[in-house]
């Protein structure tokens, strides 16, 4: 049922195939619990039924259908900022090592209203950040020391505490922080960092471990 090469299948044929599959004993063996690769499509599998439109994308072989729009220079500044927000430590890599800046490019380049607004905010913020770095330290943001970077970021990292002249920049920082966190924590490495241990097939579902119950006083 997963032949990739054949031409678009006749819809009735496809439905007969579904019917046949339910009667094939080989399918049953594959449905016994505990088979860990169960239901997981093999790499490179394509979905012959998906049309490939935005409302019917191939969920098994995702592609980003729009072009990215940030310049290499903008991406470089952004990568530096992403790594100030989420640096590497002994548990996990830095945000840019997991492609956070590239994700932000993907995000702000998307053809949706909210993202179009974010694009203005992010591109404008990058200009401001490099300009502010130059005003304070005579260099691009990417060339600053961590201490110098933090000096700027401390002024813009929290809107309620930011001075009036840093309000706009704090909105930029907030947006980049949110997008960096999304990029980072939706990866395998980011999930492991916070201790997400699911997304694995289990042969049975157990009650919470005693230490978890004790943790909340149960």
């Amino acid at each position: 049922m997963t032949e990739e090469q054949r031409p678009p299948i006749d819809r009735r044929t496809a439905l007969k195939v579904i019917a046949a599959a339910t009667a094939v004993p080989a399918v049953l063996a594959a449905c016994e619990p505990g088979e860990t690769d169960l239901g997981r499509p093999s790499p490179g599998t394509r979905n012959p039924l998906a049309v490939g439109t935005p409302s019917d994308p191939d969920l098994l072989a995702p592609v980003v259908p729009w072009a990215r729009s940030l310049t290499p220079d903008e991406l470089e500044t952004l990568a530096s900022l992403c790594d100030v927000i989420i640096p590497a430590d002994d548990r996990s890599p830095s945000a840019s090592a997991l492609g956070a800046h590239e994700f932000i490019d993907e995000w702000v380049s998307a053809p949706y209203d909210g993202m179009k607004k974010d694009k203005v905010l992010v591109r404008g913020g990058i200009v401001w950040l490099d300009g502010e770095s130059d005003r304070r330290f005579g260099s691009r943001f990417r060339e600053l020391s961590l201490v110098q970077m933090s000096e700027i970021c401390d002024d813009i990292c929290y809107g309620p505490d930011a001075a009036p002249e840093f309000q706009a920049a704090s909105r930029f920082f907030d947006k980049v922080r949110d997008l960096t966190a999304t990029a980072f924590y939706t990866t395998k490495e980011g999930m492991e960092d916070v201790g997400y241990v699911g997304n694995v097939p289990l042969s049975q579902w157990d009650p919470p471990p005693p230490e978890a119950l004790r943790h909340v006083g149960l």
């Binding site: 339910t22 979905n47 927000i85 994700f103 922080r177 395998k188 241990v197 909340v216």
Partner: protein, 594 residues
């Protein structure tokens, strides 16, 4: 115009909960059935993205107008807006109409919450003088609830609570053990608030079905039905407690029409399915009997006609109402079966309102797997029947509470807003804060009963037509004070629960229900539009989903609902569709339909 080759006994429009159930019941009893589905063919076994991470998807899997519930959501070609298929709302109505143009319809992505309507729910008018009574009682439908639950597989427990019916012994599958945040909620609600927190009922196989026992009990003396249902049940695996149900399920552990109803129906050899077939109208003869349907083949854009002895509409409540209103003839100038003018009237959705909270005792939780079924393990059934009867509440009907949180797979938006807990942390402080706060948020959502009213209806929009040339709908909507007051009660109750648990409310608690209530259609529980009843002058259908005026026209989806209890409608749609289909078979065998 092309004609279909075969003369069918029954044409079914739609392939979701109602269409799938109708097709299965009719096909196993030997009727020749043609199903027409407006969307494309869809096969969860081969198409479901199991285990994929958000990082593999565009926008980290986040929602877009084309994929409102996220990239991996099972729905394709669906949402509150479908390209080329517009609808209109009257001023201030703001109705949102969800459609899922795919085989199996919205059963592919739904929340699997499967609550029975209770005795009260079938006779609401008799209890409080509002709305309408159903033409049947809970006892009439109870056997079909048992059968439906056994067929599709539902986990849950019998708690014997008021208007929260037990299933017959052996019907339910065991409920999964609750997660930490659910146990905490249960304890605080029980100890301090007198609110019951009990296992939820969901259409998910917590263990494999008894595929040797159930087929004969569900279909006695029907070897064909027993064979196809046995094979279907055998092909379903138990849940392996990973990957969200909303993506669909390639191992068929949850209920989708496309994995549970359509395969055995097809295996009878009595069902043909045409996908990409958008039905325009039901045709009638000079006596006003349905003769078939006109539909547009979306791949050729050609209008075709299919004939049958009986037409079953199962296209979803509003789509079925639209079809009836668009089926105009000299016999039915206002739409087929619409002599009363009630088609399109008394639309209902579910009252929805929610509050979120953050819980210090959930911070720094020892890591452990909290995926579970990906859906509810526990819920709060409506518990204030006594107060309502005593006149202590300013709304007449109940709601249940769905709640969740914990250490779910981080998705788009993960740790957004963390700066407000840390005065703007970044750097290693941010990483440490994420570890500390991960899994410490919960949400509480009310799902309440709306009472039907005269101001909530749809009609054909005189200005509107879709890309298939079919006139479109215009919606009208107005909540009553019952719904708005109920939404306020939800807000205050959830705040109280969160605070009793020692948490901090993270969303704005509204004192005006109008600011809290979800937009009409947003909860995607719309029902009504062709209400059933016992009086042909005041209803469109009888209790068997049969048109009073056109005996060979049935509407087995939510359009027939005369109330919308807080029990999410899908299970009831299937139970009522099964009951109607049994009746249809009997009438067919008696020769009623020629």
């Amino acid at each position: 115009m092309a004609k279909t080759q075969n003369e069918y006994d029954v044409i079914i429009v739609g392939s979701g909960a109602a269409g799938g159930m109708s097709a299965l019941v009719l096909a196993v009893h030997g009727l020749k059935v043609l199903m027409l589905e407006a969307g494309r063919n869809y096969d969860p076994v081969t198409e479901t993205p199991m285990f994929q991470l958000p990082s593999e998807a565009p926008l980290r899997g986040g929602g877009t107008p084309e994929k409102p519930f996220g990239f991996y959501d099972a729905t394709v070609d669906g949402g509150w807006q479908v390209p080329g298929e517009p609808y209109a709302s009257a001023d201030d109505a703001n109705f949102l109409w969800w459609r899922a143009r795919m085989l199996g319809g919205r059963t592919n992505h739904w929340g699997r919450i499967s609550l029975r309507m209770g005795e009260y729910d079938f006779k609401p008018y008799s209890r409080d003088g509002l709305g309408f009574d159903w033409p049947m009682t809970y006892a009439d439908v109870e056997p079909y609830y048992d059968r439906t639950e056994a067929l599709i597989g539902v986990y849950g427990s019998n708690e014997g609570l008021e208007n929260t019916p037990n299933s017959s012994p052996g019907v339910l599958l065991p409920p999964p053990a609750p997660r930490v945040h659910e146990l905490l909620t249960q304890k605080v609600c029980a100890d301090r608030m007198g609110i019951p927190v009990i296992p939820a009922h969901l259409a998910i196989l917590s263990q494999r079905q008894d595929f040797e026992g159930w087929p004969a009990r569900l279909f006695p003396n029907n070897a064909l039905a027993q064979r196809v249902v046995r094979e279907s049940m055998r092909s379903r695996a138990a849940c392996f407690w990973a990957t969200p149900c909303g993506r669909g399920c390639s191992i068929k552990a949850n209920f989708q029409s496309t994995t549970v109803l359509l395969p055995p129906a097809l295996a009878t050899g009595n069902l043909d399915i045409r996908t990409d077939a958008m039905v325009r109208e039901v045709t009638v003869d000079s006596r006003g009997r349905a003769t078939g349907v006109h539909f547009i083949d979306k791949t050729t854009r050609i209008d075709e006609h299919a004939s049958a002895k009986v037409v079953v509409l199962a296209a979803s409540a509003c789509e079925s109402a639209r079809l009836m209103l668009n089926s105009r003839s000299s016999v039915f100038p206002d739409g087929i079966g619409n002599g009363t003018g009630l088609v399109g009237k008394y639309l209902m959705d579910t009252v929805g309102a929610g509050v979120g909270g953050q819980f210090p005792q959930l911070e720094n939780m020892p890591p452990h797997n909290q995926d579970g079924s990906s859906e509810l393990h526990l819920y709060i059934p409506w518990w204030l029947y006594g107060e309502q009867a005593a006149g202590k509440l300013d709304f007449a009907r109940g709601y249940h509470v769905e709640f969740g949180g914990g250490r779910r797979m981080p998705g788009p938006g993960a740790f957004g807003g963390l700066e407000s807990y840390t005065s703007g942390a970044y750097g290693l402080r941010f990483k440490e804060a994420a570890r500390r706060y991960y899994g410490s948020w919960m949400w509480f959502d009310g799902r309440g009963e709306m009472i039907p009213n005269e101001d909530c209806y749809c009609e054909i929009d005189s200005d509107g037509v879709d890309q298939w040339g079919i006139p479109t709908l215009k919606f009208h909507w107005k909540w009553s004070s019952h719904e708005l007051n109920q939404a306020r009660h939800m807000q205050h109750t959830f705040r109280d629960i969160i605070e009793a648990m020692g948490g901090k409310v993270t969303s704005t608690v509204q004192d005006d229900g109008a600011n809290a209530i979800a937009a009409p259609g947003q909860i995607i529980h719309e029902v009504g539009g062709a209400i059933m009843g016992s009086d042909p002058r005041r209803s469109v259908l009888n209790q068997y989903c049969q048109s009073w005026e056109v005996p060979n026209l049935f509407v087995t989806d939510g359009a027939g609902f005369v109330s919308n209890a807080d029990k999410n409608p899908t299970l009831s749609i299937m139970a009522i569709a099964w009951r109607a289909s049994d009746y249809l078979v009997e009438e067919m065998n008696r020769g009623t339909f020629g």
